[in-house]
Structure formats: structure tokens, C-alpha cells
Subunit: 208 residues, 2 copies
């Protein structure tokens, strides 16, 4: 299995974290965004979006989109644990995966991208104030859920937790909110205590 | 089963379409966005996002987010057809669900919301030119896929097709692109020929 990857990307980290937790071996291929490798014809054949991560399975099938890759790995290697197939449990995991793709990406992720003047298309999208409002709403929804429960979707960690973790952690450590969000921080600690956890990537673009 | 719903909402239509295709009976509860019913304390207890659709199951569990509701209904009532559990097939369905939540919503959906001056938070997010660029990229990706295959994720219709259909159809009929996209239009016809298909909701806000 081959992961087209970049060390500093939070979306790639989600995949590496699940692979580590599942103890599944894989090969990493670094895609240098600075050199535009993601827009090359070869790469666009793997992923028409021109984005990392992409996973190529042992059978040679390319899967793009971090959520789809998490679903693939959870179903293929995780039994019922990381993505249960019971309808309500699967819907609850999907709810938080969708939350990460909307409020997570366009609230939490975008606010950080704009505030830190990151070189991402997200940083050019919309205004700081509007992103910040969405980010605080998103963090309040996470905090409320995590005051009531240890994990987002079920009574144990699933790919919902893995998906929502990195950009929320980047945001809280970057000092972009005046709120404390203690339940979210306690959830970080539970995630970081999972067997075979690997640390978040280095964040050169964030303030110290 | 109870669907908190609004006739004109494309996200609610996705759910009604799948329920019709599956021939599953349900109760509809109209949530009047114009009167702010989605921000009432009762509704926020069902969905902290304050958005429709919400599905309340026969057992009384609330599921928010249209993608999560599609997953629930497909798993509960659709066997392996609308959301297969085989890892690669499920990943491919998820890929297009994620595509709809990103390129679909922030490209195709947002362009229409801005161009038609719709009263949605999406319409206030970002610029028309940037949204249009993302919309054309999204439509090109759909067109390329549908030149090669009849359906987005597998060799038959799945919830991926249902999710991507309404906002793409709204967009193409609204005259916001100079391109023809014949493969996308042929896919609309295949969708509209599915047994028990129900038509798209009325679009009072679009040009004639």
C-alpha cells in the first residue's frame, strides 16, 4: 500500500495516525506541493482534485480524499471498531466526518489559514471574522458533545475522532481563541494515550 | 420515522429522494427557516448546527447532516445496494460524498447562492469569481468521470449519485456556466428514470 503524503499536512496525518493505530505497514511517497507536483499529469491521474493524500491499494486502486481513505482503512483493517456497520453507529460516525469537512475545514481550518497567512486556497476563501464565528460555533459543538461523552460518535474512538483531531489541536495551540475548551483538551489527551499513537506533525507556520 | 424538512431545500430533497427510491414511509415536519424555527431551543436539541434536514428514527434517535442521514437509510433499508460495505466500494461512495461536501457545496452550490443573491450563509462566503472557478473544476471532474461510467461510485446508482445530483442539476439549469456538460446531463436522465424517482423541488429563486 502506498500513501502519497506530505509530513506537515493535517489531512495526511489523519491517515498516518489510523495506519499507526491499526499497525498496518505502508510505503510513503512525499508529494512536494511547493514544486507543484500535485498538478502534474501523473498525479492528476491518481486524483483529479490535485490534492494529497492519495492511497493506492495493494491491488493498485487509487483512493483520493482523506475521509474516503479513513473509511477504506477502517473497513479493510479495523473490523467493527473504527467504523461500525450498524446503521445508527455508522450514521453517527458520518455525522462527525461531515462536521469536520464543513465546520472543521471552513471554520477551524480556514480561520487558522487566514490568520497565519498560510499558502493554501482555504486562506483566500472568505473573511477572518466570518471564519472565526464559524470556528467558535464548531468548537462549542465539540465542547458540548465532549462534556457528555468521551468520544465523538460512539463509546470508543472511531475515525470520527481521528478526522476531527488534528486541525482542532492546531487551532487551540495557536492561540486563536480566548476560550479554554477543557473537554476538548481532555479528549486530546485520551487520543494521545491510544496505543501506537503518533504525534502531530511539526507546525513551522504557527506562532511559537 | 420523522424528517425535519423544507420542500425547497436540496439537502432535504436528497433524503426524500432516497426514501422514495427505497419505498420507506415517513412523516414530514416542515421547519420554517423564514421564521427562524431552526434556531429554537427545541430544534437545537435535535441538531446543534441549527440546520435541516434532521431525521428522528423510530427508536427516537436524532441524526443531523444530510450525508449521515443518507448513510443511515442506505444501511438500514438498502442492503448492499445504496452503500456497499466492501471496503473499496464504500471508499468510492465516500469519495463522492466528500466531493459534494467540498467542491459541490463551496463551488457549485456557493456560486449559485452568490449569483442568485440567495438568503443563505453560503452566499456571504467568498467571492463569485473564486466560487465559479471551483464550480467549473468540480463540473469538469464530474463530466470526466461520467464520460467513463454510468454512475459515480460503482456500476449502479448509490447514495453518491443522490448526494451530487440536486445542486448540480440546479446549477446547470440556471445558466451559470457556458459549458454543455453532456455526460452530466445524460446522468441526470438515468437518475430521473430510476423506479419511484421524485422530481426536484420547485426553484422559485432561480431565473426562469
Amino acid at each position: 500500500m502506498k500513501l502519497y503524503d506530505l509530513e506537515r499536512s493535517g489531512n495526511c496525518y489523519k491517515i498516518r495516525l489510523l495506519l499507526a493505530l491499526l499497525r498496518v505497514p505502508y510505503e510513503r511517497v512525499t508529494v512536494s506541493l511547493d514544486e507543484g507536483a500535485q498538478r502534474s499529469p501523473e498525479f492528476l491521474r491518481l486524483n483529479p482534485r490535485g490534492q494529497i493524500p492519495v492511497l493506492v491499494t495493494d491491488e493498485g486502486f487509487a483512493i483520493w480524499d482523506s475521509t474516503a481513505i479513513l473509511v477504506y482503512l477502517a473497513r479493510r483493517f479495523g473490523g467493527e471498531r473504527w467504523l461500525p456497520t450498524e446503521p445508527l453507529a455508522m450514521a453517527r460516525v458520518t455525522q462527525w466526518l461531515a462536521f469536520e469537512q464543513n465546520e472543521g475545514r471552513y471554520g477551524i481550518g480556514r480561520t487558522r489559514a487566514i490568520a497565519l497567512k498560510m499558502k493554501s486556497s482555504l486562506a483566500q476563501m472568505g473573511h477572518l471574522e466570518e471564519s472565526q464565528r464559524l470556528a467558535e460555533t464548531a468548537l462549542k459543538i465539540l465542547e458540548t458533545r465532549l462534556q457528555e461523552a468521551s468520544w465523538l460518535a460512539t463509546d470508543h474512538a472511531t475515525i470520527a475522532d481521528i478526522a476531527c483531531y488534528p486541525y482542532t489541536a492546531f487551532f487551540l495551540e495557536s492561540g486563536l481563541t480566548p476560550q479554554a475548551y477543557p473537554a476538548i483538551r481532555a479528549w486530546f489527551q485520551r487520543l494521545e494515550a491510544l496505543p501506537n499513537y503518533i504525534p502531530l506533525p511539526p507546525r513551522p507556520q504557527g506562532p511559537a
